[in-house]
């Protein structure tokens, strides 16, 4: 425990305190993940837990719920000193958690994923009808009309995220922990989530809300605890902590550098040159309708649209992850067939998927191995890199992208989301691609890492790399891209110069016809 903090045990525990964590220390191999952190949750509050990537938010949550053991400190639940040995243990004590990466079983049905572990049973026999009815009830609270018997694996990520939240709601918990619950939700879904959260709060539940969306934090929270580098910065009420103050406490440096990026990044490009990529009528039946797209050297083309609008599907066609059944692709004026990721890589197309954990980094390999994967694959496995080359390449990208901790031998799964994203970016940059496709590279990562990645993308474009940039954050797309391709309902709706539009303009095009633009004004 740091000497500046007075011993908390001396403070009288108030009656409305549900959980008091004090002096929590967690040691990972090579990293002190948490160093004497306190967290106090009161009945009927929404408590935001904020900090940059790697600040220790997820670790603190996992220390509470028994996923990680603690090396120091105490956890007092309802006045009783406790540590939980497993999530099940914590759930029995009324602590429900929705983790950042959706943790459900794709091979089970939606209803089962919601109810399993506390499904209605009669003498040990599961009452499936009751379980599915309960599941439908919980889904309805979010306005989700899903067949509870359908397999979870058949649904998109956003739906799975909502199902995960529904699961936590079933528990009748005293404490509900939501770790980045909104990162794959659209505005309407966020609204539904928040109204459910407010209901729970009014019923006396303590809700822990972890998010990188500060608007949402201010919208829903009563109190904020800020962490930085595994240490406690402080606990504040929302009123006493203005946003600028919060951000500087979170990142410990000025925001100026983020602002300075401004819109200068979007420099004009020469559109008389041969495009790096020209797709004509590229489509796949039942998945995406034919799309035309040119990307010029050194140009960043943004891809905007709601979740499920077809933006990821288009990226996957260009990356060879899915095969197009219509249209043609030319690279540098020569027709190519991008039927497999391997072919795409050989033609210089690098694709960084939105599903970081599933389709991106390999968690059980080290940072160095992850960075070298793409390069080695492009060279062919029979031509191994020399050790000196490997070390040099890895050191270059760790340095250039600011991977923290800067340890090439660290396992990637122990890194925070933002740092995993940097490793992934490093992998593709090492292959010296001609077209880099980034699908949601900044989702669920903090302001600092976001700025790092945006700066790097702008930088690369300046040096002649072409980038297709997909993001739900329209400000980010506007800042980086020269032109923005807008998708809706799996169709190309239009292509706009980013100089000639703004967030409201984009939203108006993206939103459904007939719906007033203000409805979706805060689309991320």
């Amino acid at each position: 425990m740091s000497p500046t903090n007075p011993p908390l045990q001396a403070r009288p525990t108030q009656r409305d305190t549900v959980i008091e964590m004090s002096g929590i220390t967690v040691q990972f191999p090579g990293v002190l993940a948490l160093d004497g952190v306190d967290l106090r949750l009161r009945r009927g509050e929404v408590h935001a837990l904020l900090g940059e990537n790697g600040a220790g938010k997820s670790t603190l949550v996992k220390a509470l719920t028994g996923v990680h053991g603690i090396d120091g400190g105490s956890i007092v639940v309802d006045g009783v000193d406790r540590t939980f040995s497993s999530t099940a243990d914590a759930e029995r004590a009324g602590i429900a958690t929705v983790y950042q990466e959706v943790n459900l079983c794709p091979n089970l049905s939606v209803g089962e994923n919601i109810t399993l572990g506390h499904e209605p049973r009669r003498r040990g026999v599961i009452d499936w009808r009751g379980a599915h009815e309960a599941a439908v009830g919980h889904l309805r609270r979010f306005g989700l009309d899903l067949d509870p018997r359908s397999l979870l694996g058949g649904h998109p990520l956003a739906v799975r995220q909502l199902v995960a939240i529904c699961r936590a709601m079933v528990l009748d918990a005293n404490v509900l922990i939501l770790d980045e619950p909104t990162s794959s939700l659209d505005r309407g879904e966020v609204e539904r989530l928040f109204s459910a959260v407010r209901d729970l709060r009014d019923q006396g539940v303590a809700v822990v809300f972890i998010s990188h969306f500060l608007d949402q934090v201010y919208e829903i929270s009563d109190r904020i605890t800020v962490l930085r580098n595994g240490r406690l910065v402080g606990e504040y009420t929302v009123d006493e902590l203005p946003r600028a103050e919060l951000v500087s406490r979170m990142i410990g440096r000025e925001l100026a550098e983020l602002e300075e990026l401004g819109r200068t990044a979007a420099k004009p490009v020469d559109r008389t040159a041969t495009p790096v990529l020209r797709a004509s009528g590229l489509g796949r039946s039942r998945v995406i309708e034919p799309v035309d797209l040119d990307v010029y050297p050194g140009e960043v083309v943004g891809l905007a649209g709601l979740l499920g609008s077809g933006r990821t599907e288009l990226a996957r066609l260009l990356a060879g992850a899915d095969t197009a059944d219509a249209g043609t692709v030319e690279m540098h004026g020569r027709p190519v067939r991008l039927t497999t990721p391997r072919r795409a890589i050989r033609h210089g197309v690098a694709f960084s998927s939105e599903d970081r954990r599933g389709e991106g980094v390999v968690g059980d390999l080290t940072v160095a191995e992850n960075i070298l994967l793409g390069l080695q694959a492009r060279r062919g496995w029979l031509r191994p890199l020399r050790r000196a080359e490997r070390t040099a390449v890895v050191a270059e990208y760790i340095e250039a992208l600011g991977v923290r901790p800067a340890n090439p031998d660290m396992l990637v799964r122990n890194l925070s989301g933002g740092n995993q994203q940097k490793v992934l970016l490093g992998r593709w940059l090492a292959t010296a691609p001609e077209l880099l496709i980034l699908d949601e590279p900044t989702r669920g990562i903090d302001v600092g890492a976001k700025a790092d990645i945006q700066r790097k993308v702008a930088d690369l474009a300046e040096r002649g790399l072409s980038v297709l940039f997909i993001s739900s954050e329209l400000e980010e797309v506007l800042r980086l891209a020269q032109r923005i391709l807008i998708m809706r309902d799996r169709r190309r709706i239009g292509l706009v110069e980013s100089r000639e539009t703004d967030v409201d303009g984009l939203v108006a095009v993206m939103a459904h016809t007939g719906r007033p633009a203000t409805d979706t004004k805060e689309v991320r």
């Binding site: 914590a90 958690t97 079983c105 794709p106 089962e112 499936w128 058949g154 609008s309 309902d489």
Partner: protein, 337 residues
């Protein structure tokens, strides 16, 4: 309704897609049923006298012990594991039972000892897998050698069983018209029914599927992963013990070299029956179909009077086809997303 409109556009073809949304994982098993029907139908057309009640009854009863082993194996494979010990445990419990009966032990005690020694070996494998993080392949390979060694320790020779109550299990025929079933067959069907019920309607059963789907998630969902995983190996051990009992009754003797390679037949039957080796998808009823496919091929070949070597070749080819078919189904259902 944003989600419905933007994220999950309705697919054309309503009813069929709804069926697929719910039961995509049953496709490999459905394919196994089709194969079985084709085999049986083809054999009937070719031989003219294949689909007789006598023949079909024998098909089940000759493979009753395989059905029992397959139930245990299905549970293990559903968690993403494998149990190579079943053939050896079958031999060990069989010879142990025969020896104890020869020494005059009561049949009730003998049956209990057979089942419990199977369970003990399963427990050992399960503990190795769960708490010592040993690969299931290696842990159960240790079980395979251990049980086979123990079988040779008990006796190097075949021991005849004279105990009437054990022989009764096989010799009694409950006849319905030309159909018949023996208590060993009933035992196999009961084990199968318990297995199917447990998997579909108990938390233990659903936890088995959850572990196979995503172990990390299963743990974070608060399911008892450790206990369930150990238990599936114990169940497989118990099934091997029961299999030993059935085989002893069937052959009227215990023999320490019984069941060499049987584990592979069982795995083949389970996979043909539609259980994915990667875990999380499959049914015990599918495994019954798998065993019947195996048995049908064997019967067809003995009808033809051909070398039994052709059984293995056919099973090998069929397995190959099935694994390819399963992969195609898995890949296609992934694309549907």
């Amino acid at each position: 309704m944003t989600i419905l409109e933007t994220a999950a556009p309705a697919r054309p073809g309503g009813g069929l897609n709804r069926l697929l949304d719910r039961h995509a994982s049953a496709l490999p098993t459905a394919a196994a049923v089709v194969i079985l029907a084709v085999l049986l139908g083809g054999a009937q057309l070719y031989f003219g006298n294949f689909l007789t009640p006598r023949n079909l009854s024998a098909l089940l009863l000759d493979h009753a012990y395989l059905v029992i082993l397959a139930v245990g194996m299905t549970l293990v494979i559903l968690t993403g594991g494998i149990d190579l010990s079943v053939g050896s445990v079958l031999a060990f419990t069989g010879i142990l039972g025969a020896r104890m009966l020869a020494a005059g032990s009561s049949p009730v005690v003998v049956v209990l000892v057979m089942v419990l020694s199977g369970a003990a070996i399963g427990l050992m494998i399960g503990v190795l897998v769960q708490y010592f993080d040993v690969q299931p392949f290696i842990a159960s390979l240790a079980g395979l050698f251990l049980a086979r060694g123990l079988a040779y320790v008990v006796s190097l020779q075949s021991i005849k069983v004279k105990e009437p109550s054990i022989l009764w299990l096989q010799s009694t025929r409950i006849q319905v018209g030309d159909w018949y079933v023996t208590p060993t067959g009933i035992l196999a069907l009961v084990v199968l029914a318990i297995g199917a019920f447990t998997l579909a309607w108990t938390r233990f059963g659903r936890t088995v599927y959850a572990i196979g789907g995503d172990e990390q998630s299963a743990r974070l969902m608060g399911l008892d992963v450790a206990r369930t995983r150990v238990l599936v190996y114990v169940v497989s051990g118990v099934c091997s013990g029961l299999g030993g009992l059935v085989l002893t009754a069937y052959s009227g003797a215990g023999y320490p070299r019984n069941g060499i390679g049987t584990e592979l037949d069982v795995i083949a039957a389970v996979v043909i029956g539609g259980t994915l080796l990667s875990g999380g998808v499959g049914y015990v009823l599918g495994s019954l179909v798998g065993v019947l496919v195996y048995g049908t091929i064997k019967t067809i070949i003995s009808f033809k009077g051909a070398e039994q070597a052709w059984t293995e070749i056919t099973i090998g080819l069929l397995l190959l086809v099935f694994i390819v078919v399963q992969q195609v189904i898995v890949v296609r259902s992934a694309r549907r997303r």
